[in-house]
Symmetry: C2
Subunit: 351 residues, 2 copies
């Protein structure tokens, strides 16, 4: 029996509570399928700053490098957000981890669950049957360019850069995904204003010849932000750069009726990382109201990545069971809510 | 009787058709109130490139400088969007005009009209009584920073910069607006990643002391993109930088049920410019289906800017009349639609 090493980074806020349920599900899968998962927990984010002064301690980075996959809860703490002069921030840990592990593609599936349609802020007929995957570039663009203050202290700058290579490697993944889905790729950019966007358009247009079965559309990001709400069903695979992807994918999350449902995979060179798309939601910490499903579906993506397809399918079935029986946290079941732990127990038990 | 000079830039696509109705309304106002509007039309955008090779001919810029106000239709043509190598683009005309006229603040009111609630993709209870104004910085940030290709042709860059001065002048307008409204300002930024955002947060936090009656909130742009749909009523005045404002304000437009309803004002140093927030929508050009109301409400904002308050109020009343009687273009009245011109005639006649 091969041991599968999974580095678990619970992080901050509700991260640890949702991670605990995800780990419980992994343990249930291990038992059911007779796998051996070696699950070790490491510090990252604000908790790592508090403990070591470093948002991404070496030990954590080394463990992630040595792992078969990484499971992350969430990071971030408001005490850093409101202090623009803070030199060390939890986000630096996550950004550095993405860069060091070469996680250049963040993959976020967005689907409307039928049972949850009443919870969406969008009208049912607009979103029913929505099924898209957003490919967000994750290690380039304005996130990783030079940034700083001008010498006189009166100005600040952030540089956005992209190379053809950075565009191509994620675009190939997106084209391949589109080819296996509904053969439709939408590039979201701002090519009428940005030079980097024009480079994206050039590359994607050229690459399209290699994927003749895929229809490619080009949308300006402002228009995409509207279309995402007006007619989300039009999207199959959405490809975009780092900052636009951050905005558009969080916007798209409203379709599902709760952020608490959406997982993501960050893939690239070697090891891959799996995390809910929601943040650390500090106001909810410790209250037992955080939805663990996004973290649990991140586990399903992790299992698929390890090619444990039956295992992943069972996790998804168990989640569907919870959804269909309203075993859900208060944002989705305000009248008879379950706690984070009860939802986790239900799903793990079902496996 | 003082002559009021208004430079009209119809632009491309549906720009000329909606502008024609807006001009008709201005003429009705002139007749009713015995004003003299000197309305001259100039080229800008793709039409100006076609005619002169320059998206913003000198004649147009000079006329705008000499005018009391500028009324713009829309600019843009897909033939430029899909040619990343095009050296001259319609958008350059608009961007240069904004810069040359010092139009540093783009002001976009977003409200949910009761009669149109059924047309919104959002559920009624979420958006009823939404009433916000977005202040988007318009002459700085990544739109106007250095941009280009790297020497080896393998990369591209766009630089985002902001100075304290650029932040302060628009923030003052936003604080003042908030003080006259519901005393609530939300700064949208990405201060957990961008240095420019941290400068925005610093300045706004400091300025807040001068406006003690205004409550200030800070939202990351990814979260703002969600909140805009989940709970738009929480917003009163939203302040943000150029690129985030482009995305967030277009996203917010879905609340109203149609982009075709939303006007904007761009103000700054001297002359101000008024335009619908919608684009040139080339597919609709010449079909008589474009909604002229955004352009007509831009006229109302223009009149308010000139302190012609009764005149503006009458234009708004006339628009309400059209809305209440469903004298509307097909996107809002699919069963018994009116043409662009019929809607314009109805509103002008009512004045
Ligand atoms: C925490 C933050 C730096 C991060 C990002 O902007 O990438 C988050 O919003 C995300 O989307 O994973
Ligand atoms: C046409 C384009 C350059 C422009 C912008 O991005 O500013 C438009 O989208 C707008 O919002 O006025």
């Amino acid at each position: 029996m091969k041991t599968i090493k999974i580095a678990v980074l619970p992080g901050d806020g509700i991260g640890p509570e949702v991670c605990r349920q995800a780990v419980k599900v992994l343990e249930a899968v291990a038992e059911r399928f007779d796998h051996h998962f070696d699950l070790q927990t490491y510090l990252m984010g604000a908790c790592a700053i508090d403990a070591t002064g470093n948002p991404l301690p070496d030990e954590t980075l080394d463990a992630c490098r040595a792992a078969d996959a990484v499971l992350l809860g969430a990071i971030g703490d408001p005490k850093y957000d409101n202090d623009p002069s803070a030199k060390v921030r939890p986000e630096q840990g996550l950004l550095r981890l993405r860069k060091e592990l070469g996680l250049f593609a963040n993959i976020r599936p967005v689907a409307a669950y039928d049972v949850l349609l009443p919870h969406s802020p969008l009208k049912t007929e607009r979103i029913k049957d929505t099924d898209m995957v957003i490919f967000r570039e994750l290690t380039g663009g304005i996130y990783f360019g030079e940034k700083g203050r001008t010498a006189d202290g009166e100005g600040a700058y952030d540089h956005c850069t992209y190379s053809r290579h950075e565009i191509r490697r994620i675009a190939h993944l997106a084209f391949q995904a589109a080819a296996c889905r509904r053969q439709h790729l939408t590039l979201v950019d701002k090519a009428n204003v940005l030079e980097t966007s024009r480079l994206w358009r050039e590359e994607v247009r050229e690459m399209a010849h290699q994927y003749p079965e895929v229809t490619v559309d080009y949308l300006f990001v402002d228009n995409a932000a509207m279309q995402m709400i007006l007619n989300p069903k039009q999207f199959d695979v959405v490809l975009t750069e780092n900052m636009f992807g951050d905005i558009i994918s969080d916007e798209a999350s409203v379709i599902a009726g709760s952020m608490g449902l959406l997982p993501s995979a960050s893939v690239g060179e070697e090891v891959a990382l799996f995390e809910p798309i929601h943040g650390s939601y500090p106001q909810a910490k410790g209250k037992g109201i955080a939805n663990p499903i996004a973290a649990i579906l991140s586990v399903a993506m992790l299992l698929e990545h390890l090619e444990l397809f039956s295992e992943a399918a069972l996790v998804r079935e168990a989640v569907d069971e919870a959804l269909n029986n309203s075993v859900l946290t208060p944002e989705l079941n305000p009248t008879a809510p379950y706690t984070t732990e009860e939802v986790g127990n239900y799903i793990a038990f079902w496996i």
